[in-house]
Symmetry: C2
Subunit: 318 residues, 2 copies
């Protein structure tokens, strides 16, 4: 049966296949993908977008799976966007009896999508944002974005989340140090997963210590202990997610945060395009190869070479 | 007494104050700084540049201090460039009896300089490269660059090192996970510091496991156990640093690595300048403010807004 509705229209009507197709288009950097985002953008801004970040092995996927179950039981539709290359969501691998992602794969109220890190972080984070917007436009109540956050990494990728959840496990020494040193930004919620580990309490105390030194805003960062594989603590995490969103809405910081994120995203998109155009043009350019040879032979310094590249591109005066 | 030599000439003659001044100029993005780099660049490429990376608290500074002592005893001149905001080198703080940075501060054969992370990572990594080149041109035999590497972070900052040393301590669970997951690149040398910790051996075994899964090139990544505060293991680390450099020189990968790094640096410098010019121009631009307002009100999507910004800048056709 033919469907006369456009891809964008079907997406807005909640069609899962249309959503999947549209995401593939933006992932492939197809102009048709960007066109769809343009078309559906007025319908975005409704979903609660949470970024779930943490080192590989922290149990983010198991936690997300438990969150999805909880949200589905509350009657909400969910989309998961994973950009952690080690995630079972990304790899399509199932962890057998530990988590049952299959139950989600069969549930029409759950849309799961992963995006591979294709080297170019700029490119990936552009595509991620577009994918999250498409999920939002498709009427998903909750969008969960899974990223690998170790240290200051991926900050731009989770920039468009309303709430950032950092997942730690006993043994996340480097993340604690990075938090303590102010190199990693304080998230909105901290989860200590695998909470029955003998060192979990020590870790909670350490985190409390770090938080007590951090500048206190209106929101007191809660530490939630979970045992994601058994679903323990997930209710509390959901409560905190809801509380955080209510808090930033009441305070007016939700719109402020979104304004700042959208501004940064426009700049990042523009800069990434500029850089891509620059690199694409140079790849085959014999003049650029000559410039690099001169730099290698120490006859021309890198900054001067960069200036010549820009001159040649016509974006900098000689 | 007047000195008729130019700042660049004095730097090439090994004058410490000229080196310090020149670095300040590039740090301040002063055109005179870039001019000096241009002038002295033909004299670079002699120093052995090692990047020492690891989470805050891994003991990088103590290790560097021990390395400096070792290198000085071998009659080599050393420069340290720290871009870890938590480093005692950066903070100017001394750790009292634990490490005696003071001995280095008084030694003319040691030049120590820190650069603050000023938010714009692009800007910092540009300035870092220039500073390392200046240290090289000033005739320092060894240039040690200290960075905070957690996960994939800072990859570009240590891109211009000939040898990358990752410093881990028992408890660096996140880094191990990131290495294992292939998110963090395998360094050239791995140091397990605080080697008398009861869990040090477990950590060494874990690292061996990760390395055994990594693709094997011509260089077998050594794991060096150190107790930096007491100077233990530092001789072995120096041996491995020398071996690695000899290896990449013999193999021809030193010049290949430098070519690749210099190419990336030229591109990064060009892209960073483009972005800076873009952002600076937009800061006060009422048209940009209007665009962002439309994006916030969901009337214009971020990608289209980015395209309009580029059109207006004249770098993209409408």
């Amino acid at each position: 049966m033919a469907d006369d509705r456009s891809l964008a229209q079907r997406l807005l009507d909640g069609d899962r296949r249309a959503l999947a197709r549209a995401i593939s288009l933006v992932e492939d950097d197809d102009p048709a993908g960007w066109e769809i985002v343009r078309e559906v953008y007025p319908r975005t801004g409704q979903a609660a977008v949470a970024g779930i970040t943490g080192a590989p092995g922290a149990g983010k996927s198991t936690l997300i799976s438990a969150l999805v179950r909880n949200r589905r039981e509350a009657g909400r539709s969910v989309a998961v966007l994973s950009i952690d290359p080690t995630s079972p969501f990304t790899q399509g691998a199932l962890l057998g009896d530990r988590i049952r992602l299959t139950e989600h794969f069969l549930d029409k109220g759950v849309f799961i999508r992963s995006m591979a890190n294709r080297g170019a972080l700029g490119g990936l984070s552009e595509a991620t944002l577009q994918a999250a917007l498409l999920m939002d436009a498709a009427g998903r109540d909750d969008v969960l974005v899974e990223t690998v956050g170790v240290g200051q990494a991926d900050v731009d990728v989770i920039d468009h989340a309303d709430t950032v959840v950092l997942v730690l496990v006993p043994g996340s020494g480097d993340s604690i140090q990075a938090l303590k040193a102010g190199i990693m930004e304080i998230p909105d919620i901290i989860v200590v997963n695998k909470a029955d580990h003998p060192l979990a309490e020590t870790m909670v105390r350490e985190i409390r210590g770090v938080l007590s030194l951090a500048p206190q805003g209106g929101w007191r960062v809660p530490i939630v202990k979970t045992e994601a594989a058994r679903g323990e603590g997930v209710d509390t995490l959901v409560e905190k997610l809801v509380e955080h969103r209510a808090h930033i809405e009441a305070e007016g910081t939700l719109s402020e945060r979104r304004r700042r994120n959208l501004r940064n995203e426009v700049l990042a998109l523009a800069a990434a395009r500029l850089r891509r155009r620059l690199e694409a043009g140079l790849e085959e350019d014999p003049h650029f190869q000559t410039l690099i040879a001169e730099v290698v032979e120490r006859r021309l310094d890198p900054a001067t070479a960069a200036g010549r590249v820009l001159e040649r591109e016509g974006v900098e005066s000689a």
